[in-house]
Symmetry: C2
């Protein structure tokens, strides 16, 4: 399997961690989504979003990191990195959807506004920043409460920990303070202690 990858993309890091946990070998092809290779007609034919990651597996082309992560897990069912029963799968996709809908858009917005906008000559929009912080202030506590007395998002280490964990590791870079959320911080420490958990750059 080939992964169109970028070392600085947290969405790609999810898949490198999943592959390491699953002992799956991925051929990594570096793509810069902002310039050059990521903008070619050839790449956009594979991934019309023009983003990374993209997975190619014997003619099957997949993008959106959460779905790729689950697909990788399906290659090694004996590792049980994703549930297979309907309730377990529904529980996993509840948390992956929750993260995609209520967390990641606002983290991405904060990084874009506060970390990258000035580099390209822009000025952060205070209203956009406050709106993103307000959404996160509403929803981050839901995961913190869920993790009370739990080691992982589901009953055991899974794709949900990889996707949400990598996402929440970006909180500091997104200027989101996790200090009030002790359960989330303890869970991130547990994930970071896993030998195959690749550290962020």
């Amino acid at each position: 399997m080939r992964l169109y990858d970028n070392g600085f993309s947290s969405n790609c890091r999810k898949l490198r961690i999943a592959a390491a946990e699953l002992e799956l070998s991925l051929e990594l092809v570096t793509v810069d989504p902002f310039t050059g290779a990521g903008r070619t007609a050839e790449y956009l034919a594979k991934n019309p979003m023009g983003k990374v990651p993209t997975l190619e597996d014997d003619g099957f082309v997949l993008w959106e990191s959460t779905s790729i992560c689950d697909y990788l897990a399906s290659k090694r069912p004996e590792r049980a990195l994703a549930p297979v029963d309907p309730r377990g799968r529904a529980d996993m996709w509840r948390w992956l959807s929750w993260y995609s809908m209520h967390i990641q858009p606002w983290m991405v917005t904060l990084v874009a506004e506060l970390r990258f906008k000035e580099r390209s000559g822009g000025t952060p929009d205070d209203g956009v920043v406050e709106h993103a912080l307000r959404e996160l202030a509403r929803f981050v506590p839901v995961l913190d409460a869920h993790l009370t007395g739990r080691e992982y998002v589901l009953d055991r280490f899974s794709v949900a920990d990889i996707c949400l964990g990598v996402g929440f590791e970006s909180a500091t870079f997104a200027t989101v303070d996790l200090a009030p959320f002790g359960n989330i911080r303890a869970w991130l420490t547990r994930l970071q202690q896993r030998p195959r958990w690749e550290r962020s750059r």
Copy 2:
């Protein structure tokens, strides 16, 4: 199965349509997420997001509408409303994740800013509105291009059509102009012609 539902919620409408397509009977319990029932400790214990919908199925409690929709499909595998093979499932969750991450947050933001904020004494934030419109302008064309020569999001009518279709039906209310997107408009018309497609209110 019991669905905590609200007639005005498009996320609940997805599940009423899925249940109709699957000929599954749901006990509907109306909840107003903004007041009363949606704010009780009893309801928040089921759904800590304090939103609708929530599904209860013999002790299993599930929230996040896309995951519930897929779970309902798993109750009637013979109807094939969701793929069962890993590639088919990955393709479906690619589009559901794409919608959750790149479309719905901005549609919800526009509805909140432009339709509800003034009713509660606020003023729409131009920066927040422009940011949401910019995100949608970037990503809506990806679905329109994907639907070229296709009847449905996947190879046949599925959970992806229900979740994305109901979402895109809200575009006008969210002030998003679908006029330039002929493939999306034709697809919505096809969905609306299905006898079990409940119209929006």
